[in-house]
C-alpha cells in the first residue's frame, strides 16, 4: 500500500496554494491554446519553459505543464464541435460527429459528453498510471543499453511512420532532427560535429531553441503567408435543456460505455510509442462506428462518436507519461518537450526518477487528478468565454507569440546569437510546414538523438564493438523487429487491399502532426 501513501503525499504537495495556482494557470492556458487552431500544447510548454527557469521548485512548473496538456485536450473538443475546426490534431475525430450534433441543435450535449468523457477517461487512466508506473519503473532497471537503444529506435520510427502523409518526408524530418541534436562538441572525443567551424555552435543547439524555432516561429511565418481566411461560423448553443450536466438520461446511457472504451484505447496507445493521442482517437471512432452500425446515425451526429474519441485523447496523456517517467522515452512531440523540461531541471526521467525525485513524480500524478477536476469545472460553464477567444485577431495573437518566443530564447543564455539561430530554425520550420514535412519527428530526433548515440556507444563498448548484441539479446531483437514492422504498418491497408484484388483506396495511414 506504499502507492497510496506516496499518492497522498503527492496530493499534500499539490493542494498547497501555490501549486493549486499553477494547476489553475496551466489548465486555463491549456484550454486557451486548445481552443485556438494552430497552437498546441507542445509549443505552449516550449514558450513557457524559459519562464519557469527561475522557479525554486520544479514541481510547480511540471504541474502547470501537465495542466496545459490536459487543458488543450478539453479545449480542442470545443473548437471541433462548435466550429468544425479541430483546435489540435487529437480532436480531429471529434469534429466528425461533434459538429454534426451541433448543427442539429445538440451542441450542449456534444460538449458535455466530450468534457465529462474527458474527465472520466482522464481519471481512469491516471489511476492506471498511479499503479503501473512504479512497477514498470522497477522493471526498467533491468533494461540494458541495447534495450534502450532498441526502444528509442522504436519510438522514433513509429512516430515518424504514423505522422504525416509521406514516410520519406517523415524520415527526412527525423534525420534533420538527429543532426541538429548532434551539433556541438562530442562528449567523449571532444570533436566538433556539424558546427561549421563556428565556436558559437560548440555548445550545441538547445532543445528549447529548436522547439520554439520550429513550432512557434515556423507556425507564425506559416500563418503570415496564409494571409486572410474566411471566418468560420460558430454553431449557436441551444437553450439549456433538461438532464443532469447538460446530458439527458438517454445520452448518459449511450455515453458511458464509449467513455470507458475510449479510456481503454487511449491509455495503452499512450504507453506505446505511437505518436500520442491521434491513433487511439481514430481507433475509438472507428470502433464506435462499427459497433453501432445498425443505428445509421453515424455521420449525422452520433453521441458515441464524440464520447469515445474525446475519452481516448485524454486517457492517452496519462499513458504517454508512463514511458516518459519510467524510461525517459517520449512518444509524442509534447512528451519530447516535457523531457526537455526535465533535463533543464537536471532531472533524468527513468527508473531512478521514482527514487530520487519521488516528491515530484507523485505531485505530478496527483496534479493530474486535480487538473481533470478543475477542467470539468472550468470547461462547461465558461464555454462562451472560450468561444470568444476565437475572435482574437491573428496579427495580435501571433505577434504576442513572436515576442514571447524571442524573449524566451534570449532569456535562455542572454545571447543574441541564440535568437538568430532560433529564427533560422524558424525559417526551416516554415518551409517544412509549407512542403508538408511533419515537425514531430524532428523534435523527437533532436531530443532522443544524443541519448540514442550514448546508448549505442555504451552497448558497443560493452560488447567490444560487436554490433550483433542488438540481435542476440532477445528483448532488443524483438523491439527492433517491432520497429521494422512499424515502418510497414502505415502501408498495411494498401497491401491488404492489393491482396484482396481491390484497387488501393488510401495511400497511407496518416495522422496529423501533433503540435
Amino acid at each position: 500500500m506504499n502507492v497510496f501513501v506516496d499518492l497522498l503525499n503527492g496530493f499534500a504537495t499539490v493542494l498547497s496554494p501555490a501549486n493549486l495556482f499553477f494547476a489553475a494557470v496551466g489548465v486555463t492556458l491549456g484550454t486557451l491554446v486548445g481552443v485556438l487552431p494552430g497552437i498546441g500544447p507542445a509549443v505552449t510548454i516550449a514558450l513557457l519553459l524559459p519562464v519557469t527557469f527561475n522557479f525554486e521548485d520544479p514541481i510547480g512548473a511540471f504541474i502547470m505543464f501537465a495542466g496545459i496538456y490536459y487543458g488543450a485536450m478539453y479545449g480542442g473538443s470545443t473548437t471541433s464541435i462548435l466550429l468544425n475546426t479541430p483546435g489540435e490534431s487529437a480532436s480531429v475525430a471529434t469534429a466528425i460527429e461533434g459538429h454534426e450534433m451541433a448543427k442539429r441543435g445538440r451542441a450542449r450535449s456534444a460538449l458535455a459528453t466530450a468534457a465529462i468523457g474527458s474527465f472520466v477517461a482522464g481519471t481512469i487512466s491516471t489511476i492506471l498510471l498511479t499503479f503501473v508506473a512504479q512497477p514498470l519503473g522497477s522493471l526498467a532497471v533491468k533494461f540494458q543499453a541495447t534495450d534502450y537503444f532498441a526502444l528509442m529506435i522504436l519510438a522514433l520510427v513509429t512516430v515518424t511512420a504514423l505522422v504525416g502523409t509521406s514516410l520519406t518526408r517523415g524520415l527526412l524530418s527525423l534525420l534533420f532532427g538527429v543532426v541538429i541534436g548532434l551539433v556541438g562538441l562530442d562528449t567523449l572525443s571532444g570533436q566538433a560535429r556539424f558546427t561549421l567551424d563556428q565556436p558559437l555552435l560548440f555548445d550545441g543547439i538547445n532543445d528549447v531553441i529548436l522547439i520554439i524555432g520550429l513550432f512557434a516561429i515556423g507556425e507564425t511565418l506559416h500563418v503570415l503567408v496564409k494571409g486572410r481566411t474566411r471566418p468560420g461560423q460558430v454553431s449557436p448553443l441551444e437553450p439549456p435543456h433538461g438532464g443532469f450536466l447538460w446530458l439527458n438520461k438517454e445520452e448518459w446511457r449511450r455515453s458511458w460505455a464509449p467513455w470507458l472504451r475510449g479510456a481503454g484505447f487511449g491509455f495503452p496507445f499512450g504507453v506505446l510509442p505511437s505518436g500520442g493521442a491521434e491513433l487511439p482517437t481514430f481507433l475509438s471512432y472507428t470502433y464506435e462506428k462499427r459497433r453501432s452500425r445498425g443505428r445509421k446515425e453515424f455521420g449525422k451526429g452520433a453521441i458515441e462518436g464524440v464520447a469515445g474519441p474525446e475519452a481516448a485523447n485524454n486517457a492517452s496523456f496519462s499513458g504517454v507519461l508512463v514511458p516518459l517517467l519510467t524510461l525517459g522515452l517520449p512518444t509524442s512531440a509534447t512528451a519530447a518537450v516535457l523531457l526537455a523540461a526535465f533535463q533543464i531541471f537536471n532531472l533524468q526521467p527513468g527508473p531512478q526518477l521514482f527514487e530520487n525525485s519521488s516528491d515530484l513524480v507523485w505531485a505530478l500524478i496527483a496534479s493530474l487528478y486535480i487538473g481533470n477536476l478543475l477542467l470539468l469545472v472550468l470547461n462547461l460553464p465558461l464555454i462562451r468565454l472560450w468561444v470568444k477567444v476565437l475572435e482574437i485577431p491573428r496579427p495580435v495573437l501571433y505577434s504576442a507569440i513572436l515576442v514571447f518566443a524571442t524573449l524566451g530564447v534570449y532569456s535562455l543564455s542572454g545571447n543574441i546569437n541564440d535568437v538568430l539561430i532560433a529564427y533560422v530554425i524558424g525559417v526551416i520550420g516554415f518551409f517544412m510546414r509549407q512542403l508538408d514535412f511533419p515537425i514531430a519527428p524532428a523534435i523527437l530526433g533532436a531530443i532522443l538523438g544524443p541519448e540514442l548515440e550514448k546508448q549505442l556507444r555504451t552497448a558497443l563498448t560493452i560488447s567490444n564493438g560487436d554490433p550483433s548484441v542488438f540481435v542476440t539479446r532477445p528483448l532488443s531483437a524483438v523491439i527492433l523487429a517491432l520497429a521494422v514492422a512499424a515502418l510497414l504498418l502505415p502501408y498495411l491497408p494498401r497491401v491488404i487491399a492489393r491482396l484482396r484484388g481491390r484497387p488501393a483506396t488510401t495511400e497511407k495511414l496518416a495522422f496529423a502532426d501533433e503540435d
Binding site: R228, T229, R230, P231, Q233, L390, E391, P393, R394
Partner: protein, 132 residues
C-alpha cells in the same frame, strides 16, 4: 438608383437592413448589401454565415428589390469598405446602423458610423436599433 447598406448579423445590422429594404422598395432602387471582415481571426461574429445571408436574401426578395450581396475579406475596415462600395456603385444613399459609444470606446476603436457619415459623397441614413 442605388442604396448601399452596411450589414452585420447583429440586431443593429438587422435594423439597418430592414430600413434599407423598405427604403429601396419605396424608391424602387437597387440594394447593395456590404458585409466585411478583416479575415484575420478564426471567428468573426460580424461576418454573416451562409444561413444568415440566405435569410437576408429571402427578406429582400420578398420585398421585390433587386440586390447585390457583397462580402469582402480585404482587410479594409468596415467604414472603408462601405464607402468604397458606395463610390463603386455611385450610390444615392447609404444606410448604416448607429449606436452610443462611450468617448473612451470611440477613442480606442473609432466609430465606423462617424467615418461613413463624414466621408460619404451621398446622403447617409442613420438607423437606431429598435428600443426594448
Amino acid at each position: 438608383m442605388t442604396i448601399v447598406v452596411g450589414y452585420t448579423p447583429t440586431p443593429l445590422g438587422e435594423a439597418a437592413a430592414a430600413t434599407a429594404i423598405a427604403e429601396a422598395a419605396r424608391r424602387q432602387a437597387e440594394l447593395v448589401v456590404v458585409n466585411s471582415s478583416h479575415g484575420d481571426a478564426a471567428v468573426d461574429p460580424k461576418f454573416a454565415g451562409p444561413a444568415t445571408l440566405a435569410t437576408l436574401r429571402a427578406a429582400i426578395e420578398a420585398a421585390g428589390v433587386t440586390h447585390h450581396l457583397t462580402q469582402s475579406l480585404s482587410g479594409l475596415d468596415p467604414a472603408e469598405s462601405i464607402l468604397r462600395t458606395a463610390r463603386e456603385y455611385d450610390a444615392d444613399l447609404i444606410v448604416i446602423g448607429v449606436r452610443h459609444r462611450t468617448p473612451v470606446g470611440k477613442l480606442l476603436l473609432g466609430s465606423t458610423a462617424q467615418r461613413v457619415i463624414l466621408d460619404a459623397e451621398c446622403p447617409v441614413l442613420a438607423v437606431k436599433q429598435a428600443q426594448g
